[in-house]
């Protein structure tokens, strides 16, 4: 026998045990029976016990002398620590915990029993936190563990009273279960399992000792052993042949370390930690989980398919129902596959379940997979693992725990946010539709807006601007008419006047649109204002500048510019008008034609009104309800008309021309705006009183005005005709003036503008029609439903 050096604690302990075994009080030989019992209580595999006995020489000697006994005890400690049994280890292993023996032996020293009892009490105190009372844990273990392990585990439970308590704090049982689970895949590393709990328990037992009454032996030894364990483990892992043990040992080390470090507060901490989060995964555990993950999926960033996970977890012999629930909890993204995080969570839940913990209804925060895959790093047990999961059970590095909780907190938030995100996507799509819808409308407005500015610019004269303003201010809603009215007057003066008229018409048109479309009204008005401003600004062709409402601005920009062009060169109205008129034709035929003549009649009264009408008519096209604006336009037209007799005079001819040319265009326009145009024309007619000439034009004008107010009004009556007869009339009237100037360039530009206006009008029309289509479809659906309701019995 090599010399055996024992620490004082060990010496004392061993002597106690020897005396215990020395039933015959020989002081020399320990009863084989007792020794065997003792060793069995150590919960070591039989082969280990045999090996120990052989090593200590008892086999050779045939009896357990004191030295042999001591050596055997030391070897038991070694074995329980998970270290390979070697003769040299007796002395080489410095810090070895005391060998543990199951509490099943009441013949154990009273100390043990007392300690056990105390531990049990302690356990009871923690029972609130940890569901399975020690006994249960033991039972569970017994049931799960293999034969060899069963007694051991039970004894482990018993002997490690404190260990039993420790589970409560943190997943102490998890090591057990974990080990057991390991056994499944790895065929059962009993030693490992024992070694795990052994050292694991020691720290706890040590902490427990504080509370336990008579755990003198333990208390005395516990502080050192944990540290020793830790130290020893540090040495052993590399040497240990049991790979599985490493995680356990590491875990134990951590646990031990942590416990040792917080001896005083251990209990409290344990309690607190256990209460805080019994689901925390220790580093060792995590390392183990990661290793297991690797066996299934070498890529840590990869997924474990559901089938493979199913097989793996089925090995744990948990009922399918529970496994199903565990899966539900752990598969966070519900993709049917397990990421490393999810796998660790699932594994942890399995371990906990095996230990007797009830499965939570909701995934504990500590188990929630982080949104950010921190554990991608292979070296899990470290920071990453900490981040993802709480650190060591009790005292996991405080820094880590906070981070983990924060992550866990963020995860549910993120999860929720993900859900919200999903819903948001739905919403966004709907919003997109809305925006699209709006955009459809927008162009309409911009057209008018664009139109507005053009005329204004065309008519730098303040008169126009004033008129515009007046008209604008007068009645935004009635802008269609007012602007037209104003513009016509302006146009009468010069090209600018024409432009202004157009502008007015455009405005009115815009307003008409607005009236028709609630949303457009504002933009139109704004556009009107903008145009007005532009008129003020005059020169700058970029009517776009002012466009107040977003939808408007863009189109208005273009239009305004085009309008400016029109204005710049004296609206070669004639040609343009014709062109304008030509454009409108695209507008779907509306009952306008019949009405056109009507407006025409009225037109003479109010050229402005016509203009306004035309401008509004296009607006009306998209939306008939807005037709009401005409009345306003009329008022304006009337007012405006009065203001500018000159313009009126000019307008008259223009209107007349417009009328003529607008007749066809008016019809077109009318078609566009249906009744609205007509009304508008009628309204504009009176409004155009001052302007005369264009009374008939008004109806189409308003609409057209909106679209191309200025352009159409002036340069191209044709355009007017397209949108609104009024517009056409106005345009015709207007162009007459610019035509006088005779600028082809302007004419071209005006035509361009008109085309754009037409496009806008058509777009609006399209949107309106689509809307109507939707309505009709809905009605159809409702009718169908009703029908089904009425004949349900046919199915019966």
């Amino acid at each position: 026998m090599e010399g055996l050096t024992l620490s004082d604690a060990e010496q004392k302990y061993y002597s106690d045990l020897f005396s215990y075994c020395d039933i015959e009080s020989t002081k020399k030989v320990a009863s084989n029976g007792r020794v065997v019992e003792l060793f069995r209580a150590a919960q070591l595999p039989n082969e280990v016990v045999l090996q120990i006995m052989e090593l200590c020489g008892a086999t050779r000697l045939g009896y357990f002398g004191r030295s042999q006994f001591y050596i055997a005890l030391k070897l038991v400690a070694v074995a329980q620590s998970g270290l390979p049994l070697r003769v040299e280890s007796i002395n080489t292993v410095k810090d070895l915990p005391l060998p543990r023996f199951g509490a099943s032996k009441n013949e154990q020293e009273s100390r043990h029993t007392t300690s056990y009892s105390s531990d049990t009490e302690n356990q009871g105190s923690y029972s609130g936190v940890i569901p399975p009372p020690p006994g249960r844990v033991q039972v569970k273990k017994g049931s799960v563990s293999h034969d060899a392990v069963q007694p051991r585990t039970s004894t482990d439970q018993q002997e490690s009273t404190s260990p039993v308590v420790s589970p409560q704090q943190s997943p102490p049982t998890s090591p057990h279960t974990w080990r057991k689970h390991n056994r499944h895949p790895s065929g059962g590393n009993n030693e490992r399992s024992l070694a795990g709990p052994g050292p694991f328990w020691s720290p706890f037992s040590e902490a427990q000792t504080g509370s336990s009454a008579g755990d003198a032996v333990w208390s005395g030894h516990s502080p050192p052993p944990p540290q020793e364990n830790w130290v020893s483990f540090a040495d052993t892992p590399p040497t240990s042949t049991l790979l599985a043990m490493h995680p356990a040992s590491v875990q134990d080390q951590t646990t031990v370390r942590t416990v040792a470090s917080a001896t005083t507060a251990n209990e409290i901490r344990r309690q607190s930690s256990s209460y805080d989060d019994p689901w925390k995964i220790t580093d060792e555990q995590r390392q183990y989980y990661v290793n297991q993950f690797k066996t299934i999926q070498p890529d840590l960033n990869g997924f474990i398919p559901g089938s493979a996970a199913k097989e793996f977890f089925t090995k744990s012999k948990l009922p399918i129902l529970e496994l199903s629930h565990i899966w539900e909890l752990s598969d966070f993204d519900k993709d049917g596959a397990l990421t490393l995080d999810e796998f660790c969570a699932a594994f942890h839940l399995v371990v906990a379940r095996k230990n007797g913990y009830d499965l939570p209804e909701k995934l504990p925060e500590s188990l929630m997979p982080k949104l950010i895959d921190l554990e991608d790093s292979a070296d899990v047990g470290d920071q990453s693992g900490e981040v993802g999961y709480s650190g060591s059970p009790a005292e996991a590095p405080p820094s880590k725990s906070p981070s983990m909780p924060s992550l866990n907190q963020t995860w549910p938030e993120l999860n929720q946010s993900s859900e919200q995100w999903e819903t948001f996507s739905e919403r966004s799509s709907s919003s997109q539709t809305l925006t699209q819808f709006d955009s459809n409308i927008a162009p309409a407005d911009p057209d008018t807006a664009i139109v507005h500015p053009v005329p204004i610019r065309m008519t730098p004269s303040k008169i126009h601007m004033q008129e515009m303003e007046l008209k604008r201010t007068g009645s935004d809603h009635t802008n269609p008419t007012s602007p037209l009215l104003v513009k016509p007057s302006d146009l009468s003066e010069e090209n600018k006047i024409n432009s202004s008229v157009k502008f007015v018409s455009g405005n009115t048109v815009a307003d008409g649109y607005s009236s028709s479309d609630s949303f457009t009204s504002d933009p139109e008005q704004i556009g009107n204002a903008v145009t007005r401003q532009r008129s003020h600004s005059g020169t700058s062709p970029d009517n776009t500048a002012p466009p107040p409402p977003p939808p408007r601005p863009h189109p208005s920009h273009s239009r305004s510019s085009s309008l400016d062009m029109n204005r710049t060169f004296p609206v070669t109205t004639g040609q343009q008008q014709a062109g304008v008129v030509a454009h409108p034709p695209a507008v779907p035929p509306r009952p306008q034609p019949s009405q056109v003549p009507g407006p025409h009649v009225h037109r003479p009264v109010d050229a402005e009104g016509l203009i306004t009408h035309t401008s509004t008519s296009p607006q009306q096209i998209p939306e008939q309800p807005n037709f009401a604006d005409f009345s306003q336009f009329e008022v304006f037209a009337a007012s405006n008309v009065n203001e500018e007799p000159d313009d009126e005079a000019e307008k008259h001819p223009e209107v007349l021309q417009v009328e003529k040319s607008s007749d066809p265009s008016g019809s077109l326009r009318v078609a566009k705006t249906d009744g609205r145009i007509e009304e508008k024309t009628a309204a504009s007619a009176p409004a155009n009183v001052g302007k005369s000439t264009t009374p008939l034009a008004p109806p189409p004008k308003p609409i057209r005005r909106r679209l191309k107010s200025e352009d159409e009004l002036r340069p191209e009556v044709d355009e007017h005709s397209q949108k609104t007869g009024v517009l056409a009339a106005v345009l015709s009237s207007q162009p007459s003036i610019p035509r006088s100037v005779g600028k082809d360039k302007k004419a071209i530009q005006a035509s361009i503008r008109r085309n754009k206006e037409t496009n806008t009008v058509l777009a609006r029309l399209n949107s309106e029609l689509q809307q109507q289509l939707k309505d009709v479809l809905e009605e159809r659906i409702s009718l169908e439903v009703q029908l089904e309701q009425l004949r349900p019995f046919s199915h019966l």
Binding site: G306, S307, S324, W327, E328
Partner: protein, 153 residues
């Protein structure tokens, strides 16, 4: 609560592969009703409604089977409740019986409820431990159904 045996979220999930057989292979995978009583009656109602569902499914043909599946019928004058149906692509049928007195329930709400049911069902299917055709014991599923029924109640 007033007799809202309303949400009888009675899901008759039909295993599609059993279709070939003429005899009804439809068997419920999950049944839940708010007032626990009368469940048998609902069970019967749902079973009979399966015929209508099948008829609709066959009638719809290529039409979208999901979402649009709104079955409003079986308005017994006595019992006065409505039965809604929903069929997934895998021929799993969801049948919901609601009290007609609960007029607050609109079509959109019914659809959203079916959508949620469908989502929860897919989650259940994702569970490798769930064998298609088994009765659904998923707690998450139960919770979702409960919340839905409570919300409607």
């Amino acid at each position: 609560m007033r007799k809202k045996n309303k949400n009888k979220n009675n899901k008759n999930l039909n295993a599609s592969w059993l279709k070939p057989y003429s005899l009804l292979q439809n068997y419920p995978l999950y049944i839940r009703s708010i007032p626990a009583e009368q469940e048998l009656k609902f069970h019967y109602t749902v079973h009979t409604s399966l015929d209508v569902v099948d008829e609709k499914v066959s009638a719809m043909g290529k039409a979208l089977v999901d979402q649009r599946e709104l079955y409003l019928g079986l308005l017994y004058p006595t019992e006065d409740y409505k039965v809604y149906g929903y069929v997934t692509n895998s021929k799993v049928k969801f049948v919901m019986v609601v009290d007609s007195s609960n007029t607050a329930l609109r079509d959109n709400e019914i659809r959203s409820m079916f959508r949620k049911l469908h989502n929860s069902y897919t989650d259940v299917m994702c569970n490798p431990f769930y064998n298609p055709g088994d009765r659904i014991h998923s707690r998450a599923f139960d919770n979702m159904v409960t919340s839905m029924m409570v919300q409607v109640c």
